[in-house]
Symmetry: none
Subunit: 221 residues, 2 copies
DNA sequence: AGATTGATGTCAAGGGCGTGTCAAGGTCCG
DNA sequence: CGGACCTTGACACGCCCTTGACATCAATCT
């Protein structure tokens, strides 16, 4: 993880301090702003690739900051912190151009997971294993230099699997990272997408680990 | 799992005593501290991999202890015990960087389940003894570099045995850790799985300790 | 020693459950 | 409207787990 620049805009130190610590611990380069205008200013720096934004801010509403940041930097990843789930509807957040939002109170682990997901979106990087190459920047994937035609979900799923090639990725992780749903996976959606992926890249590259999840073939084995 | 070092920080003996008993019975190596500073001190020991922390503590608030522990040991698993669910929610469950929290009153079984989950969350590690290698990350196992074909339960069972190689693992522990069932193991299920494991890795690696449990052969003996 | 008792090893069903795949909507968007 | 994509239900298929029966074995009693 190449020192991704993260901007944290939050006036409550009781929240920002531990969060900043957590983010730093994960290897991000963290900048802190304590009010709306400051956040807006800091967010224009190209160093920043991801913003975690509290909606309740002094001087300028978080949603407003979000709108303006989005206007000037289309590819910026913006993660909204809302006081309560009821308070700010999904619609408002999406309206303002947020990429994701999370309701307080939240668990640090969950937020960090969301940040990781956002970071994956923000930071273009090339993954590869066993003849498959995934470019998250251009969202293209190749199998032995032949470009694959993948749907968005298929691409995300493949990227997630390849990013941990050789390791088992659990169903929960996949549902959380690719579908961003915490809800139990009762449906066959995940299996269906795995099935489609296998049809396109070859069944032998994705191993089923019964009762746990799936494993993309590592380069060695 | 596997003589995992657990630190319990709790001043109320009515809570700590049965909890410590339960944890010990599950095979954890339990340390007890009765106030904040003591917990902080004990928690810096690398032996400790998991901390169960009461928020209401003498001399130093549990949240503060949590923050400091988190600051010094990023990968430590911290489980917070809160007096009321609302209480910590208000302050924000994340504040101090706890990995999980559970509200009092709680059922012992539930807490133990959370502890198991936290233990599982700890870094994937590779175990090995007597020519058997178990990779929890990829969920693969090898016997002298030959990959074994194991069912989920067989894998978990082998991992549990190897993690305490050279030591006896009780039937009770195995049923609890691998089957996650509290009911007494009246059936022959466990024996059946041990039998299948022996068939795959060689009977001499798993010794029966009559009336108690099983022991995987350590590297030395 | 031989018998007895209880715990363990193994075999052979039986069924439960996780998974793969097809087909039918349903939604979003050009 | 048409097409791409996602979701969902249905169904089949196997692997796995469980269970009961019976053989064995270890330890204790007579």
């Amino acid at each position: 993880m190449a020192t991704l620049g993260v901007l944290l805009v939050e006036d409550d130190e009781a929240i920002s301090a531990p969060l900043a610590r957590g983010l730093t611990r994960e290897g991000y380069d963290v900048t802190l702003a304590v009010d709306g205008p400051a956040g807006l200013a800091a967010g224009s720096s190209p160093q920043i690739a991801l913003v975690i934004l509290d909606v309740g801010l002094p001087f300028m509403d978080g949603l407003e900051v979000c709108r303006r940041l989005r206007a000037s930097r289309p590819k910026l990843q913006i993660l909204l912190l809302t006081a309560r789930s009821e308070e700010v509807h999904a619609v408002d957040g999406l309206d303002a151009g947020a990429d994701d939002y999370i309701a307080k109170p939240f668990r640090l682990a969950e937020l960090l997971a969301r940040v990781r997901a956002a970071a994956r979106r923000a930071e273009p990087r090339d993954l590869s294993a066993s003849g498959v190459r995934v470019e998250t920047g251009s969202r293209r994937a190749y199998l032995h230099d032949d470009e694959l035609t993948l749907s968005p979900k298929e691409f995300d799923l493949l990227a997630r699997l390849v990013s941990d090639a050789g390791q088992v990725v659990t169903r929960e992780q996949l549902l959380r990272d690719v579908w961003e749903t915490s809800w139990g996976g009762g449906g066959r959606t995940l299996d269906q997408h795995v099935s489609w992926l296998r049809a396109k890249i070859g069944a032998d590259l994705i191993t089923t680990v019964r009762g746990t999840g799936f494993r993309f073939r590592g380069d060695d084995a």
